[in-house]
Amino acid sequence: MRRWSASLVLGLVLSLTAQSADAKKKDKDEKTAERPYPSTYKPYPGRPTALVGATVYDGRGGRIDDGTVLFADGKLVGIGGADMAVPEGYDRIDARGKFVTPGVIDAHSHLGDYPSPAVEALSDGNEATAPTTPDVWAEHSVWPQDPGFTRALANGGVTSLMILPGSANLMGGRSVTLKNVPSLTVQGMKFPNAPYSLKMACGENPKRVYGSKGQKPSTRMGNFAVNRQTWLDAKAYMDDADADRDIGKDTLAGVLKGDILVQNHCYRADEMALVIDMAKEMDYKVSAFHHAVESYKIGDLLRRNDICSAVWADWYGFKMEAYDGIPENAALIAKAGACVIIHSDDENGIQRLNQEAAKAQAAGKRIGIDIPDAQVIEWITYNPAKAMGIADETGSLEKGKMADVVLWNGDPLSVYTRPEKVWIDGAMLFDADNPKLRPVSDFELGQPGEGDVK
């Protein structure tokens, strides 16, 4: 009774091999270029809004005192001083004594992939079954009901974030960039047309995870050997018209063609320097080093290679490769003229990226590196947007960009300040003054504390 199905499969294989090599290559390239699981995100309705009288940080280093920010139809319409007229039909919000910034962006989050509650059944962030898994996509693990998204919005003013696979593997898989708008599906959160990134990891994690299984890599030299061979295999795949489609190699080919960015978890200065040379050897570019606690030792090298450092303010000591972490890291990177991003990698830290940036700024100031507040705001807005490839659309307050905006109830670099209102694409999705205007995930319905201020 099963014979017919077997012959059908055989027929399919035959017909495939009968295709011309050119047709097959074309098919492979077209499939790679397709964007399956497309974004279904649509901005929610908003009202034309004028924020008037605020201190405005535009995310590009600019500061306007007594400023005006206008947005309508999901886009920023105007950013200016007190002389900017508020057009008719705009809701006017008195923002005197308050501050306005672009929506906060986290370039390193595992929300949805490692959600709350942190139970095994929901732990989907590391496909730690092979040292390279460029075939896995973080979006296929995202649980949209992770309550962490709601806290990042309400307490952190986070409007966009990149979800990365974990760092167990040398090549952990594809990232996904999300709008922090609740949705039933990950497609409903996907940032439209954001480029993908490949998550890579150097150092302790991959060699520990696989070394403890008695397999390669068990050393840092093993890390590089596996990486280099994998890149060469991807190049061969790109050149091989007869190759069967390989989802993992599609991702690597995307990197080598420049369509997919590289986000590389790497702590130590010497290892970052080696990765930079590997990228040159294999002809790809690293967009940002993540965690990068030793970037302060090689700020010049990072500037020359145009690579951002996504860092914590002052995490140190929790693992060997973090032993040389110092609070002045971000300021010293900035002093060297290299790009700074403050990232979270943490469901709590993502609620306070503004505070982490302020701590990093203060540590610099104490050694004579005076970085203006407006530039510090770049670390959590424009710079992460740049490293994620979405800076043309968000990350700064510029006319025509997405109206991703936070109104803070005070100086965002003060511990005493919280987001008061948050708009994403012009839709008000959090209002501290309106208890109903805060998201509550399905998971929290009917639980103690449902809808509570968090």
């Binding site: 110092i326 203060a362 201020v453």
Partner: protein, 433 residues
């Protein structure tokens, strides 16, 4: 002298206050927060003599001839007190050879005592000291038992004598973690706890030299350690988060009336705050946890501390372990002040928030009026800050412990100084020190 007595004597020697050269000093015209929960006082003076605080406040006279620091434009506080930390127990947390926080291969549990492992030269201590932390309690992590063993209270001075009080408390995990350790359920954890306390009681009642019952499950040292908990000599710190678990802990009070209980965690404490207050059980918690990180903390909210405080619970900020380090205490406290501006949230006043990282953890740790406060007779732990200590932009400029001015250099500051510039023209960076 028996070996045990020798050991005890050695530990007692270790616990002696280090007789360093305590300086007399006065800090004048500063904004002074005494740590007792009151609001900061502007243009105030602090006087330390003989290693102790003599006076603090506006108009406090400065004795003639005493070395004086001008505090104009600066803030002065008592040293921060961090409750429930892993200070001095690791160099690098994930490097197991350097980490003494847990012993899951040990046959012992309640008898484990962190004291001999404490390393005053750990960078973790030096970095915390530079953050204004001068005293702390140190707890072990659970290995293979619900009992983690006995913690100590330490000072963070740059000298060898860090132990203020060895065996200051016993730690037990109930809730989800305790359930796992006990064999799989909360039911098992509570049976394990009660059986252990029963065995401790029986051992304590045995005439010297007589044999224990043959079905004893605890080792003798473990049972001996728990006898001190039963007597209330060592407080029992209980790790729980869920409201129902807290109730189950409070119920132990009627069963074991002499036990001194302290709740550690209590993420859902606000749901049972009146009961905690009525039982006079203090709480040590990490306040900004606002996610249902586990099923036992579904009701977690940053308003937990504010609501418990309002209900009359004594609450300290603590639980600084691993990457979440004691020097972050001011940020945690400052965020609780921020909550007072947030509609629907419960926070703390500035004075209350600062007390939650100074006098209150000191009180819970057995040093009421002696640490974490600028009050006559308290230890001369003083921190001079360059601004509001709870604000992100502020940092300690000077730290005194027992009246002794402390070095604030450490591995981090040395790296910072080496890499302030990246110039390697004439010699490698390795020669820049």
């Amino acid at each position: 002298m028996s070996r045990r007595a020798q050991f005890a004597a050695a530990l007692a020697a270790l616990a002696l206050p280090f007789a360093a050269q305590a300086q007399d000093l006065a800090i004048t015209n500063a904004t002074v927060a005494t740590g007792d929960g009151s609001a900061p006082i502007e243009h105030a003076n602090v006087v330390v003599q003989g290693g102790k605080v003599v006076a603090a406040g506006a108009g406090v006279p400065v004795p003639a001839g005493i070395p004086t620091v001008d505090g104009t434009g600066k803030w002065v506080t008592p040293g921060l007190f961090s409750a429930v930390t892993d200070l001095g127990l690791w160099d690098v947390e994930a490097v197991s050879e350097s980490n003494d926080t847990e012993a899951d291969g040990s046959p012992f549990n309640a008898a484990l005592d962190v004291t001999p492992a404490l390393n005053p030269a750990s960078q973790h201590i030096a970095i915390s000291r530079a953050g204004g932390v001068t005293r702390a309690s140190v707890a072990a992590f659970n290995g293979n038992s619900i009992f983690a063993g006995q913690g100590a209270v330490i000072d963070l001075a740059d000298d060898a004598g860090l132990v203020m009080k060895p065996r200051a408390f016993q730690f037990v995990e109930l809730g989800e973690a305790g359930a796992r350790l006990a064999g799989g359920s909360r039911v098992a954890a509570h049976v394990a706890l009660r059986n252990a306390l029963r065995e401790a009681k029986e051992l304590a009642a045995l005439p010297a030299g007589s044999a224990r019952q043959s079905d004893a499950m605890l080792t003798r040292p473990d049972a001996m350690a728990l006898a001190k908990v039963l007597d209330g000599i060592e407080p029992l710190y209980v790790g729980v988060e869920r409201a129902s678990d807290i109730r189950a802990v409070l119920a132990l009070k009627s069963e074991f009336p002499k036990m001194n209980l302290v709740l550690v965690g209590a993420a859902e404490g606000w749901l049972v705050a009146p009961e905690i207050a009525a039982a006079h059980v203090p709480v040590i918690t990490m306040p900004l946890r606002d996610l249902p990180a586990e099923f036992e903390m579904l009701a977690a909210t940053q308003s937990n501390v504010g609501r418990m405080k309002k209900a009359g619970v004594k609450v300290a900020i603590g639980m600084f372990t691993g990457g979440n380090q004691p020097r972050y205490a001011p940020q945690q406290a400052g965020n609780l002040v921020a909550l007072t501006k947030l509609p629907g949230a419960a926070g703390l006043t500035w004075g209350e928030a600062f007390a939650a990282i100074s006098s209150i953890p000191a009180e819970i740790s057995g040093f009421a009026g002696k640490a974490g406060v600028l009050a006559p007779g308290a230890v001369g732990d003083v921190v001079l800050w360059d601004g509001d200590p709870l604000e992100l932009s502020s940092a300690p400029q000077e730290v005194w412990i027992d009246g002794v001015k402390q070095p604030l250099e450490n591995h981090q500051t040395r790296l910072r100084d080496r890499y302030k510039d990246l110039d390697r023209t004439y010699l490698p960076k390795a020669y820049d020190w």
